[in-house]
Symmetry: C2
Subunit: 144 residues, 2 copies
């Protein structure tokens, strides 16, 4: 299962970097992988604390950063001042539809757009390392 691929990838990262495997990191990773996508740090922290009251906010922040560094997660910024994280397997990619009314986030992928992005970059002699594309507006529900 993908969950195990991510766990294994993080385990390898920990080993490769000379870091240590800890109870907290295991707990946070388990929760992160089973929680819903695009959770803010605060949401993850509150969710974790329900079962693990001792866990510190700083540890959650640090651990999520490690997830991003290890490649099993991505930081997302939707402009509301909250950092969100989503887990993904290496090489996966998608963009977002963000409802500005209810906050619902939908994901999509469009190879044609990505090809055109590459073409635009090429015409500038620019080498793309990453990109972000977000469409903001009203989801089907909020559009009534």
């Amino acid at each position: 299962m993908k969950r195990d691929i991510k766990k294994e990838a993080f385990r390898e990262f920990i080993a490769r970097e000379g870091l240590k495997s800890t109870r907290q990191r295991d707990i946070i990773l388990d929760f992160f992988l089973s929680a819903k996508r695009h959770m803010s740090v605060e949401e993850l922290y509150r969710g974790l604390r329900a079962r693990h009251p001792g866990i510190g906010y700083a540890t959650v922040c640090r651990t999520l950063k490690l997830f991003a560094q290890s490649g099993i997660a991505h930081e997302i910024h939707f402009g509301d001042g909250q950092t969100r994280y989503e887990h993904l397997v290496e090489g996966e990619h998608h963009d977002h539809l963000v409802c500005t009314v209810c906050g619902t986030i939908a994901e999509f992928e469009n190879k044609t757009i990505e090809a055109l992005q590459k073409a635009v970059a090429d015409s500038h002699g620019f080498i793309i390392r990453s990109h972000r594309m977000e469409l903001y507006g009203l989801c089907a529900k909020c559009a009534k």
Copy 2:
């Protein structure tokens, strides 16, 4: 000239909202329209202070927000924790190529991509109100 169109648009906004025309707002607008694009609040503040030492940081922040509200400027967030502003005339739009090495920012517009974005949104019953697309990587110069 476009500069005058923007000045006039802001003047109208000021009047329409029952706000007042002030020396500071004039100074900040002049500098903003003549400075290079995508300046951060800090950069604009420092640039302004050279000629106008009395001007307050809070006033710069507030005034830039007013520019955005009036429609003559846009807030931009590239994920480095700095808010940038760029001026544009009503209806104009473009996206960005951001060099992660030297910080250079190029602008582009691609109608085909925008049409595809619309198509993606439609297929989700989503109504786009705005969007952002940024390509991060190496500019021609930094790619060597």
